[in-house]
């Protein structure tokens, strides 16, 4: 079953189109990177899933059901523009937000106490938010996003402003939540986060989805069929279907070369050839990074 299936979603504003007829599927229990340049339509899409705004056309289904107000308690949302009531106490704030998401008073109280203990901020329960450090406020925001055990968690630039320790804490928590069965949607510009955490990609540009699918499949789709070789002694590819793109001497005898090969060529065969002509120290396929793919697609799109 899919966590989200979007069909023909469009959203127009008076002066621009935020989303144009988009379709996508998000597998259950996946960590999805929602990528795209600023103004591409990511926030509009996130707000539609959160039912803050409704699309002009199209439907969203969530875990097999048409999206409806009752699903609010199933979703945890950490917006990019996030904040807390400065004058409210930490405990009040957490229980209030939990109750707005549909928890009972008792439940809200128990869970928030358990979470502040887990995040080691229990002694701040009766302090006002304005007295907290930025890092602690971020912990509170994160707790309030996941406290009601949502099946779908939407995090918009979750690490912006987080120090490395908090970022690590939250990364661990995200992975644990996925283990427990949650689906996580990340909207971020940080490609290293995408590389490290996401297993599914959704790339939006100019109100349209230009790339969707599993990260591994996308990677192989964008293979450049080039291999990087470290070797001792020069060699020649004239008699082979391979092209030597460049070859640089990095130490006295050691060279670093890039080799382009036909798509259907088996890596073993390439390696056999290399062994026969030179002393191979390393051999690795050069895969594109998500950042490379992002830039090539978005720039290519802009040129059209």
């Amino acid at each position: 079953m899919e966590a989200i299936v979007a069909t023909n979603i469009s959203k127009h504003y008076t002066q621009h189109t935020a989303l144009r007829n988009i379709n996508f599927r998000i597998p259950d229990r996946s960590i999805v990177g929602l990528l795209g340049p600023n103004g591409a339509g990511k926030t509009t899409l996130i707000r539609i899933i959160n039912q803050i705004i409704t699309p002009d056309t199209g439907q969203i289904s969530i875990f097999g059901e048409a999206l409806a107000p009752k699903h609010i308690s199933m979703i945890g949302y950490l917006p990019e523009e996030r904040g807390l009531y400065k004058k409210m106490k930490v405990g009040d704030q957490l229980t209030y937000l939990a109750r707005l998401r549909g928890m009972t008073k008792q439940e809200a109280l128990e869970r928030s106490k358990a979470w502040v203990k887990k995040f080691e901020i229990a002694e701040w329960w009766n302090k006002k938010v304005e007295d907290l450090s930025k890092g602690m406020a971020q912990k509170i925001q994160f707790i309030s996003t996941i406290m009601h055990n949502p099946r779908l968690i939407i995090l918009d630039e979750p690490f912006s402003g987080f120090d490395p320790i908090n970022a690590q804490l939250i990364t661990e928590e995200i992975l644990r939540l996925r283990e427990q069965g949650s689906t996580i949607i990340f909207s971020t510009h940080r490609m290293e986060t995408v590389e490290a955490l996401c297993d599914h990609i959704l790339l939006i540009n100019n109100a349209e989805i230009i790339l969707e699918g599993a990260k591994s499949r996308i990677r192989s789709q964008f293979r450049s069929d080039t291999y990087e070789v470290r070797h001792v002694g020069r060699f020649d590819t004239a008699a082979t279907p391979y092209t030597l793109l460049n070859s640089n001497q990095i130490e006295e005898d050691l060279f670093h070369s890039t080799l382009k090969c036909p798509r259907e060529e088996n890596p073993n065969k390439i390696l056999q050839f290399l062994i026969s002509v030179t002393e191979v120290h390393s051999f690795i396929e050069k895969l594109p990074t998500m950042s490379d793919i992002f830039i090539s697609l978005v720039k290519g799109g802009d040129r059209e």
Binding site: Y85, M88, Y96
Partner: protein, 432 residues
């Protein structure tokens, strides 16, 4: 579900406000502070009058009528020509120089007060009174009129106004008391709506700049958040009003008890009871008893809620549209105009002429009725006018809430955009 969430927000809003120290201070101290300030001012004014030394006034009397007898002034004759006297007062610290030339008793002209400063109205009035009294005595001698004859000529009439009810029962009415009550309630209404309306706006701007609002509206509808905040604050206002009523009742009961003993002592001492026309306090107390206090308070609560909800919704819309309070000014102005109109009308003509055409219409139109009706209601308002006004008030707040909610839902998510009326209209028309 929808109502539950509204109540949840309202309760939170109520708790946040009531637990603030400023609420406690305002609620407990205001009913004590205002009478205290008033009392202190009166007390110091009396003390000042008592302790002030008599002002020195030199005089040159060429008429031969002047008698230098006064509590307020220390009159000293000046012997010499007027020009010398004028020069003299310029250099000493006397109040002035009163020059009384020879004049015709029946056309007194040419009396002048020379002084180095501009004298206050009170001093000039006192001098006028003194001179008028002297001339009057001189005239009486001239016309050979006896004081006792004059006393018998003077009459004091005080029309007692009695309101006749439909079933023929009579109520004595005192327009001074009525207008006092109207003024008090109108003023309270104006303050309440303004203070609480501004608080709604501030709260919403705070939520917007805190950026907490997006988290909240991903859990509940913007309308629920707006209504919850408005209702929460309304209940804070009602609580405050209730506490004030209780405090004032207890305080005034204490005062009446105190004065009550005083009056009975006076009677026990066998003092002659004053004629009814002069017994002001007793009359006021009698009329006070006739005023349906419970009815007035209930009407006040209704119009406070109605007026607050009408304006509160508009203030909420303004708060959602702007990023900082100073941007709100341009939108606040048109909202406050009907309030100002009704507030000024209250003093200009509603209290003087509570049953005039304009007064009636101002008390029926929803935007002006909360203040205008409170000015009229103590005088007694026909049932149909009250009913029409109340129905329109409810309709008015449904309308402004609908209008405000459409702007609010878009506005709270907009940051940094330059907002004018055209933009507001576009938000209003926008589909969700």
């Amino acid at each position: 579900m929808i109502v539950n969430k509204i109540l949840l927000v309202a309760r939170q809003e109520f708790r946040n406000r009531v637990h603030k120290r400023s609420f406690l201070i305002a609620t407990i101290l205001i009913p004590l502070i205002f009478p205290a300030i008033f009392g202190i001012l009166i007390y110091t004014a009396i003390q000042q009058e008592k302790s002030s030394t008599r002002k020195v006034v030199h005089y040159i009397d060429e008429s031969g009528l002047f008698k230098p007898v006064s509590d307020q002034f220390d009159f000293r004759p000046f012997n010499g020509p007027l020009e010398d006297a004028k020069r003299a007062i310029a250099h000493d610290d006397s109040f002035g120089l009163l020059y009384i030339p020879k004049f015709d008793l029946y056309r007194p002209q040419g009396i002048i007060l020379y002084s180095t400063v501009n004298p206050g109205m009170g001093d000039i009035g006192a001098l006028n009174g003194l001179l008028e009294h002297l001339i009057r005595e001189a005239k009486m001698r001239d016309l050979q009129v006896d004081q006792s004859v004059l006393d018998r000529l003077s009459t004091n009439v005080n029309v007692l106004s009695v309101k006749v009810g439909e079933s023929g029962q009579e109520q004595s009415a005192n327009s001074v008391v009525m207008s006092g009550v109207g003024m008090l309630f109108g003023l309270l209404m104006y303050l309440f709506i303004f203070i609480y309306g501004a608080q709604i706006m501030q709260g919403i701007i705070e939520e917007k700049t805190n950026k907490v609002v997006e988290v909240i509206i991903s859990a509940i509808r913007p309308f629920q958040l707006m209504m919850g905040k408005i209702l929460g604050l309304a209940s804070v206002g009602l609580l405050q009003f209730l506490i004030w009523i209780v405090l004032i009742t207890v305080l005034s009961a204490g005062l009446f008890f105190f004065f009550g003993i005083d009056m009975s002592q006076g009677q026990a001492a066998g003092l002659p009871s004053a004629p009814p026309s002069q017994n002001g306090i007793a009359e006021i107390l009698e009329v006070w008893d006739q005023i349906p206090i419970t009815f007035l308070l209930l009407t006040f609560v209704f119009y406070f809620l109605g007026g607050y909800l009408i304006y509160g919704a508009l203030f909420a819309a303004v708060g959602s549209a702007v990023d900082i309070p100073s941007e709100a000014q341009q939108f606040m102005f048109p909202i406050t105009i009907p309030m100002l109109i009704s507030y000024m009308s209250l003093f200009l003509f509603i209290l003087q002429d509570p049953h005039g055409q304009i007064s009636i219409w101002l008390s029926i139109i929803p935007f002006t009725s909360p203040i205008a009706m409170m000015g009229r209601v103590a005088y007694g308002v026909p049932g149909w006018q009250l009913a029409l006004s109340m129905i329109l008030l409810v309709g008015g707040f449904v309308f402004t809430t609908w209008l405000a909610a459409r702007i609010y839902r878009v506005g709270i998510l907009m940051h940094g955009s330059k907002v004018n009326y055209r933009v507001l209209a576009r938000w209003f028309m926008m589909r969700n």
